[in-house]
Subunit: 887 residues, 2 copies
């Protein structure tokens, strides 16, 4: 029975593999094969496939006989081609044994170099290279690496042995040891090895080879690698491949060397051949940083022929792979070898620059360019960040959640009121709270950054900060905040009010003191790039869905609306009216309304709010001239607005003329056991119709006024938290009555739509009924996720991190839409809605609207529009275009 | 064009209608027609159909010409048959105009009697009857009734006129007025009428007739009728019919009379001819209660021929309708007329008795008998109730929600501790609380009844009380409870600790003092009847579903398990383990566990609980010998168990040896913003595996021990709150590991199953995955309803009553399953679950398991079992049998 092929040879100008075989050969193996076929000088070798790795694990960490045979056949072929033999006394073949999975996992798995050396072969190597010191140094390194990687001999045991020789010789550096010293080192290393492993160092190179292959396969499932795959969501791989490759040496002498180069600048994207190298050195020397590497220009001067060959290879590879290449090369005795090439990692800025340049160089088309940039990479371009040159010199004092990207620095304050007061005095502040609440909005708005000690990625602080584009580190558990004394401590370090601190919301880090920030610019390239994305997005065609795929911004204030528009939003997808109530004047009237004991009193208080609310809407309508604005009527439970401080309660009691105690009773009656599932959203609209009436009137009056100014106003009124169409009908009727009366009174009519959020599971399940009455649906996936999972996003901190850790959840469902469960409800909602209204407009306006995977899902689910925070609009534009291309 | 037929004649031994035409003729009209066709003496007349009523409303409260014509043709036919004429001077025809819908709505709509009288006809009536006083009295009554019903003339206006004549004549009673006096009354009435209506009383009988028909049709949509239909969930009717029928008079003299009779006793069901009548009286006199009616036996003595005829008719009608009949009769001048017959309303006891008797008399078959008893009627038979003879004499002091049926009386106490203390002293107590919490369990358990001032039908008090079968009036808002002073007041009335009070949980009423209760017995009839229901239920056949339809009880304690078994439960459908933690000893250890700061400490505390928990399970297993017991592992959030009183906190701090302040910090960290959506159920099982480990070990040890006693133990272990199969897998693995180790240790193996609750929407949506690993599903429709609607059952009191009132919701979804929304999830869960496990056992264990409509839904949805509180098991058995017959 044929078991298939498990080992693939490369060398002598041809290879059995190719670049497309990454799944089987791993990235490194596939590229080594591809380069060999391209005629690029690659030291010959062979790749043991990922299938063998899978089999190794299935087979209880052993190899079937046929794999052993296949490896040995390929080893023979390699020896024949190299005209050398593993372990040979005269002409020993040395090989490297390296890991290489289909997805790059740098540094996570094991490598063994210089394999094949033993007491005989080391002599052969010395003779052949004419460099005894080199040979014994290589043997020493091999024993140490093999001992460490394959047998787990502690590093310090070898270091101790080396140190003892250096002390005996009274020298400081390794390179001061000569061949004889190194022979002694080897001898001591062999003892160290034997003591630790309880058996002598294997002299048989085959034994060495199989042990090394074992170690590499074994490293696929080491803790480090498992964690790396979990963090980077790498799934579905069969395992790692093992590359057994003949060694070339950059430390053969002064005509040898080794280096790394990029075909373009990985940090700016500039089309400039960028690299570093060291003569007479091995790769590990470059990494160890003992010597400072040279720039490639030095190579050009010193070895113009080698440099020219390198440039030629670079061009060939970039042209072949049609992407920026990251290459490793070694020069042995003046002869150039390429040991690795891969598509180079790059910054967001470089990613965009390279993608745009490659299109202009006609190497790739626009679609390909769009697919080349990961949406998350754009995030870096849209926020201030800590000056990278400073970054190297400082250490964070604490780490929390990277709740809202960007960096900030300012003076620490502990209350929202202080933040506002200090801001008015011209100070930059960082607002530090255990957690924030809607009352803190004013302070959050003026703070440079927000830091909390509790709460998750969707805590109030995090959500609001992302919406505002304010950097935020949330849930930083190491902080102990004492609100009363106005201190914050980390370990023994205590910060007082007014002390400087800095935040990096992109990585969730907190720094002491004020740190220099840089303000990245939106380059012209990015604009051009996003225009291509828009073209693709706007030409999207799906069966049963209107053409295109829209992007809107969530914005509650004119300034945010403008920001969204500037970043390319095609309308406001969610304008939350509740945030508007948090300025002092409105809040006061709103609180009087909340505790009023009669409809008349409520109406009276609401009348005072109306003109102010009207102004809010006017500003947004003006900002969005010609673009639709989707306004959500009041959503949260009333108690979110109730005063909590003694002062505020006393003041309110005073205004309405009752005792503080009586007021407290009314306030208590607003408390709910599970406010998220309580009296909120349209439920308030039904029981207190006067609230929505006021809001609709404010919308109508603002729309009429702004339209009179010659501005095109397209209001959409969204009723939240609908669970049955029977809630929607009377609320729509009420709203239309008011709109009509304002239009009649003013003689001006404005086009409008009235839609609903689908955020209650029951709404999705009965969408066919609701669609009969609603002009559009917007999926509120935050609440939909809460209720579909039964997770309160305020409380999941106690178990969701553990769930993600244990892989019970792939990801926090508040960050990435749960496509299987919540997604099914979205799909049902769309299908059922369109079953009674074929062209029903559907959109998403939860936090997920800015998440690339979720955007892809929304496209597949047939949604017309996604909406996200203004600062994520460029990311969403790119992700949406990718979704269109992908599907 | 033919518009169809709208008017149906009956009289002269034949009728155009029949009993099956209720939808068209209303119940009364259809039965009048049927009786006419049966040869029973019915005064002739005609019925204007419900179609005409529908048309009347569609036609803006007017009649098309063809209906007017049809009515007048039938009137002529009636006049011809009666040889009388409406308004005739010599021989005037008098008619009654009565409503009659397809479903009986007693007293909700209008009636006009004696129609056709005017100044001429009254003379004719006087002459024909030879009784001038009778004629003028009839005219007086007619003017008053017409004025009141048709024109809305206030009752007191006529009363005043009558009183003035009585005062002028200086008499007290109406019957002291003679013909001349009544003529004066008529004259005054006509003035009253003219003053109020602004036009004279219509003398044209046709005008009278059409106005009366208008009034009856109009009364179909009066407020009273609307409300009645809403309360009784009467839907889908076209309208009322109008019956125009020639009048007969029971007040013609001493050979005349009128009465009501039942073919069997409506309160006991005994086969005994039961009725009351009055000689020389009209129906309204019987109702007014001025004279005491006679028993039928008196009629038998006084008018044996008439009585014999009545018995003959009664037998004929009962045989014809095959059900107990409620009849109205009038004797005019010794001649018997039947004015109405219908299936009589009856008590639950009578319903069962009659159904069983009719089967034994071979009038109906068992299926028909099963359909004859409304499941809700059984409720009366299963709880103590207030002695009906006492009921008439007392007035409730307050009304709340009928949260748990049955009556109770006892001395008022205000804390659970007091309840327990007083109980130990031999007192009967009523526990009065604003609301109860799990800590009150002990007190609730010993209380005769529970009374709360807040909370709804699914509040803690209500749910627990129903589970215990303890009467409960919840959410009684009129009560002001002062826990500190231990007083309760209603208006100005103040009750202190130790005062007696009584509750009627069936109707939600509160009484002052101790009231006599009667303990109803489960009659042999009921047992027999339910056995028939079981036979039907057990033989249920559905495609793709195992045969039969099981009933289980929810029970947490052996005593409840026994009660369930006694009432016919075929197993325990839900045994909640959390209630078991509320006895003092376990609670103490559990609290130590909750606040422990290490796994070791938690395990230590759990070890102390285990033997106690094992005993709980042993008791239940013994009680349910041979029947399955489904045990749910810990479900609620931990903070439900934390101590709240200062004393308890101090005590706990003492035990674990930390300061009260430090303990408070730990307790606070357990608080959640939305505990219903927080860290609970299997989420605790994942993060603190030691808790479920302890519970599973207790189940295993109890099962082994009891099985050793020769008892058949069938444990089912249910993991709550699963949202993804990835939660279920490790929890199942853990449980099986522990079961295996106990079985190995003891050498005894017990059959078991491990299943899950489906109560998170996501679980239903992804049931195909979960079914791969779970042995069974039990739908927890309480939580499923909470999350599908986004309603916290603790908080819905603020809007759900208003929603039901405004018909936004048909019913409180926590009482009756929302079949459209939540039901869709149940159906999806069953279908998806069975898509990967064809024979997956499914059941329901929420509060809905005892609701007849929901049981019908569960049957249709393909569930195998419903489970409900022990006290509702008989109701569920009946409802389940009806579901099988119906579908």
């Amino acid at each position: 029975m044929s078991q298939g092929k498990f080992v693939y040879f490369f060398g002598g100008g041809s290879a059995e593999g190719k670049a497309e075989m990454k799944d089987t050969l791993g990235g490194k193996g596939a590229n080594l094969a591809e380069m060999t076929n391209l005629g690029i000088p690659v030291p010959p070798g062979f790749t043991i496939s990922t299938d063998a790795c899978e089999l190794y694990y299935e087979n209880n960490k052993a190899y079937p006989e046929y794999i052993v045979k296949e490896v040995e056949q390929h080893l023979k072929k390699l020896e024949a081609q190299m005209e050398m033999k593993l372990g040979d006394h005269d002409n020993p073949l040395l090989v490297s044994v390296r890991s290489g999975a289909a997805v790059s996992m740098p540094g996570m798995m094991d490598t063994v170099l210089n394999l094949g050396l033993n007491e005989k072969a080391v002599e052969g190597l010395a003779a052949r290279s004419g460099n005894e010191r080199f040979a014994w140094d290589a043997y020493r390194r091999f024993i140490q690496m093999f001992g460490d990687v394959v047998k787990g001999v502690p590093h310090h045991a070898f270091e101790g042995a080396l140190e003892s020789i250096k002390m005996e010789k009274n020298v400081e550096n390794d390179n001061e040891l000569d061949a004889d010293d190194l022979k002694k080192v080897v001898s001591r290393y062999l003892s160290v090895y034997k003591d630790a492993v309880k058996e002598p160092f294997p002299q048989d190179p085959k034994v060495q080879l199989w042990a090394a292959i074992d170690a590499v396969f074994g490293s696929w499932k080491n803790e480090r690698a498992d964690k790396y795959r979990a963090i980077n969501k790498i799934e579905g791989l069969k395992g790692t491949a093992v590359n057994v490759q003949s060694m070339v040496f950059g430390n053969f002498g002064e005509t040898s060397g080794t280096g790394v180069c990029f075909s373009r600048d990985p940090s700016t994207g500039e089309n400039y051949f960028y690299g570093e190298y060291l003569m007479n050195a091995q790769g590990e020397d470059v990494v160890a940083g003992i010597r400072t590497p040279e720039k490639l220009s030095t190579l050009q001067e010193g070895s113009p022929a080698v440099y020219a060959q390198l440039v030629e290879i670079k061009d060939k590879l970039e042209n072949h792979y049609k992407d920026m290449q990251d290459m490793e090369f070694t020069i042995q005795d003046g002869k150039l070898y390429i040991l690795q090439t891969r598509n180079g990692k790059r910054t967001g800025q470089a990613a965009v620059q390279i993608a745009v340049d490659l299109v202009k160089e006609k190497m790739i088309d626009k679609k390909e360019a769009i697919m080349r940039v990961a949406p998350a990479q754009l995030d870096q371009l849209l926020h201030p960040m800590i000056d990278p040159s400073v970054m190297k010199e400082i250490q964070p004092i604490a780490k929390g959640l990277n709740a809202s990207p960007g960096a900030a620095c300012g003076k620490i304050v502990f209350t929202a009121e202080d933040a506002e007061a200090w801001f008015l005095k011209g100070e930059q502040v960082i607002l530090v709270r255990k957690e924030t609440s809607p009352e803190d909005i004013g302070g959050m708005n003026v703070a440079q950054g927000i830091l909390t000690s509790t709460g998750g990625m969707t805590s109030h602080a995090a959500v609001v900060a992302r919406g505002m584009g304010t950097p935020c580190v949330a849930g930083c558990k190491e902080l102990i905040i004492n609100q009363e004394n106005k201190t914050m401590s980390v370990g023994s370090k205590v910060f007082k009010e007014g002390n400087w601190c800095s935040l990096d919301g992109t990585d969730g880090l907190v720094y002491e003191g004020a740190i220099d920030l840089i303000q990245p610019e939106l380059s012209g390239n990015l604009n051009e790039f996003l225009t291509w994305a828009d073209d693709i997005r706007n030409s999207a065609k799906r069966e049963g869905v209107a053409d295109g795929f829209g992007i809107r911004a969530n914005a509650d204030l004119p300034v945010d609306a403008l920001k969204g528009r500037e970043f390319g939003a095609e309308g406001i997808g969610l304008c939350r009216t509740e945030h508007m109530f948090f300025d002092e004047e409105k809040l006061k009237s709103f609180r009087i309304m909340i505790v009023a004991d009669s409809k008349e009193r409520r109406v009276e208080s609401l009348k005072k709010i109306m003109p102010l609310q009207t102004e809010d809407f006017e500003g947004i309508f003006r900002a969005m001239d010609g673009l639709p604005v989707n306004i959500r009527l009041l959503d949260p439970p009333l108690h979110e607005f109730v005063p909590r401080s003694k002062r505020d309660i006393a003041e309110l009691a005073d205004i309405i003329g009752i005792s503080k105690e009586d007021l407290q009773v009314r306030l208590n009656s607003l408390e709910e056991q599970n406010p998220m599932l309580g009296h909120r959203g349209c439920r308030l609209g039904i029981t207190y119709p006067e609230i929505y009436d006021m809001q609709v009137e404010a919308i109508a009056r603002a729309a009429v006024k702004v339209q009179k100014e010659g501005i095109k106003v397209l209001p959409e009124i969204m009723i939240p938290l609908i669970g049955t169409y029977k809630e929607f009908i009377p609320l729509r009727e009420n709203a239309e009555k008011i709109l009509k009366s304002v239009f009649e009174e003013t003689g001006i009519t404005v086009e409008y739509q009235i839609g609903t959020m689908i955020e209650i599971p029951r709404a999705a399940l009965t969408a066919e009924d609701i669609a009969k009455y609603a002009d559009y649906f917007s999926f509120g996936t935050n609440d939909l996720t809460q209720m579909t999972f039964g997770y309160s996003r305020d409380d999941v901190g106690t178990f969701v991190p553990e769930y993600v850790n244990k892989k019970i959840l792939k990801a926090d469902p508040f960050q990435t839409l749960d496509q299987h469960g919540v997604g099914l409800l979205v799909e049902l909602g769309v299908q059922r809605g369109r079953s009674t209204k074929a062209n029903l407009k559907t959109s998403i306006c939860g936090e997920h609207g800015g998440d690339p995977d979720s955007i892809d899902f929304c496209y597949r689910a047939g949604l017309n529009v996604v909406s996200c925070s203004p600062y994520r609009v460029p990311i969403a534009r790119l992700a949406a275009a990718q979704a269109v291309i992908r599907n």
